[in-house]
């Protein structure tokens, strides 16, 4: 009898083990396609990339790739084009954050009021967002070169009529801000719309009955209620502006040139493009890699700050 129970127990254990093993197989089987592709394009290149940033890896054919320590990082910080790109990217990012958010928030207020065609308007404002940066950069290149001078001449703005916006690096940066505002305002607007729709109507009505005027209602109810959305939109515009590449390529291709630290450099090259140019034009891929890692660390810092602010906000609410 006891022998029988023993065998029975063992059978149970076996099938339990079998089940566990099956579960393990299923786990890895289901995970494999994603994990394999993910490793192929993210984990392995990331690891190789960190190593290569300490070597003399170049885009030309070379005998051996040698370790050079922190040289690429020091060189990056002494490269005028990289320093210039950092400054210009910061300027571009700040201008973009302000313009996109002011326009997006104003549009959101318009399309959440009781307008008849509000759904059509929303779609209209959103449409540019689904067009790729390369395509819309070329559309705007045409507009800045042929449309703007004519309109400016008709309206009597002589400066714009006689000078192309893309012909001067300062106005060309402004042109890039206009294009990316056109592209992303509708998208950011929809995030504000979602937040505005969550503001309880009875709260506003109650305030109205208590005699609060439109501005007071806006300032004391609407703005605090959508403050969560501000964290999201500011972060999104910040990161997207910082990573801008496509519009940069198709609108200005990094030019026109300007003087900086006594050297002629391309005047509208943002960081992402400078990284790319360092490898494709200067053929110094290792230095491009070091720049990319600096770029990465800055972005991680931004993300951590954003997470920190959101967490803090959540606690306060």
């Amino acid at each position: 009898m006891s022998k029988f129970i023993e065998t029975f127990k063992k059978m149970g254990n076996d099938s339990l083990n079998q089940d566990k093993r099956n579960q393990k197989i299923v786990f890895w089987l289901f995970l494999f396609p994603s994990l394999f592709s993910f490793a192929m394009v993210q984990i392995i290149p990331f690891a190789i990339g960190i190593y290569y940033s300490f070597t003399n890896w170049s885009a030309t054919a070379q005998f051996s790739i040698d370790f050079v320590g922190l040289k690429n990082y020091f060189d990056a910080f002494q490269d005028p084009a990289f320093l210039y790109a950092t400054i210009i990217t910061s300027v571009y990012t700040i201008l973009n954050i302000m313009l996109v958010n002011v326009i997006a928030f104003s549009l959101a207020l318009l399309v959440t009021s009781q307008l008849k065609g509000r759904n059509i308007y929303r779609a209209g404002f959103f449409l540019p967002n689904i067009i790729g940066g390369i395509i819309l950069g070329y559309i705007w290149q045409f507009i800045f070169n042929y449309f703007v001078p004519r309109i400016a001449a008709m309206a009597g703005f002589t400066y714009l009529a006689e000078n192309l916006m893309l012909g001067n690096s300062n106005t060309a940066i402004l042109a890039m801000v206009i294009v990316s505002t056109w592209q992303s305002a509708g998208y950011i607007m929809m995030i504000y719309v979602a937040a505005l729709q969550n503001v309880p109507r009875d709260l506003i009505e109650a305030a109205q009955i208590d005699g609060a005027n439109a501005w007071q209602r806006f300032r004391n109810i609407t703005v605090p209620m959508v403050s969560q959305a501000f964290t999201v939109t500011l972060f999104l515009t910040l990161v997207n502006s910082f990573k801008q590449f496509d519009v940069n390529v198709s609108l200005t291709n990094g030019g026109p040139s300007t003087m900086f630290m006594g050297r002629a450099i391309k005047g509208t090259t943002l960081l992402a493009m400078n990284i790319s140019d360092t490898s494709t034009i200067s053929l110094n891929t290792a230095q491009a890699q070091a720049k990319a890692i600096i770029f990465f660390l800055v972005l991680v810092t931004f993300s951590l700050i954003q997470v920190y602010i959101s967490k803090k906000r959540e606690v306060e609410l």
Partner: protein, 289 residues
């Protein structure tokens, strides 16, 4: 009181007119593409603002672009479609599978793998792009599998880059599916595979619409990854890549450029008009997460 109501109506009308004006302003660039695609190059340079005199030129320009050997539009359209469709299929099915086992297996390994996927979202493409090309080269010389300048490589790349956000979103959504449904299926003799494909996958419908749209628009418009993995002027070219190549040589002939742009815009705008609600909702949901 009456005066107040009247004022309100006037204010509302002003707001309505203002908004319509703004929408028109927003869409002017696209309108300009359309009218200038129906002109000759001379007309564009002389009168970029006026309506075209002869719309038949539009058709002439379109046929010209369709068969232009420098742009190879029809081929780029097919390539873009194949890449987008297969990448999307891969991303949605594989990410859902991965998210499911990562959620239902409560081990340290599974936790760590999930965190790895999520953490990778902060890695900008610039950090991995050059090593990626190098690694694909090494991989193809060792295995013989063509990774660069091929569908295989770029589709694997999109599945890899798309998996982080998709797994994260599936994972979040699956938490709300009661575990009991799956247990019941299991009791009824469904294996893991059957349970997943017959029970779990259909429940995920609302979330995979979002995931398809988010990834679809990104892949369709993407430029830098195809440029690095496929290269310029190779047999496999996506639309943005083809337009960019074309612009390099034909930026002076704006009639051809405008038509090329118009034809690159048509597929995505048609798609937007058909699924506008889902697209806006999907893209906003994706951002907030």
């Amino acid at each position: 009181m009456f005066k107040n109501i009247n004022n309100r109506i006037i204010l509302k009308n002003i707001a309505e007119m203002l908004t319509i004006g703004l929408v028109v302003l927003f869409l002017v660039p696209l309108f300009l593409v359309l009218i200038n695609a129906a002109k000759t190059n001379n007309e564009i340079i002389q009168t970029p603002l006026s309506l075209p005199t002869d719309w038949s030129i539009l058709w002439k320009n379109i046929t010209n672009i369709w068969s232009n050997p420098n742009l190879r539009y029809s081929q780029a359209l097919v390539n873009s479609t194949v890449i987008t469709v297969f990448s999307l299929l891969g991303i949605t099915i594989f990410s859902a599978m991965a998210a499911w086992v990562l959620l239902r297996t409560k081990t340290k390994t599974s936790m760590a793998i999930f965190m790895l996927f999520v953490a990778a979202m902060v890695i900008p493409f610039q950090v991995v792009m050059f090593p990626l090309v190098k690694w694909f080269g090494i991989f193809q010389s060792f295995t013989g599998i063509q990774m660069l300048r091929s569908y295989t490589g770029i589709i694997i790349a999109y599945i890899g880059f798309g998996s982080s956000l998709s797994i994260f979103m599936f994972h979040g959504f699956m938490k709300s599916i009661p575990h009991e449904i799956e247990e019941a299926a299991y009791m009824d003799g469904c294996g893991k595979f059957k349970t997943f494909f017959l029970i779990v996958l259909p429940i995920l419908k609302p979330i995979y619409v979002t995931i398809l749209i988010l990834n679809g628009i990104w892949i369709w418009n993407d430029f830098l990854l195809p440029m690095l993995v496929l290269g310029k002027g190779t047999p496999v070219q996506t639309l943005p890549l083809a337009v960019n190549n074309f612009a390099g040589a034909f930026l002076v002939s704006w009639d051809l450029m405008m038509t090329a742009i118009l034809m690159a815009l048509v597929p995505i705008i048609v798609f937007f008009l058909m699924a506008q609600k889902h697209i806006i909702k999907g893209m906003v949901e994706g951002s907030v997460k």
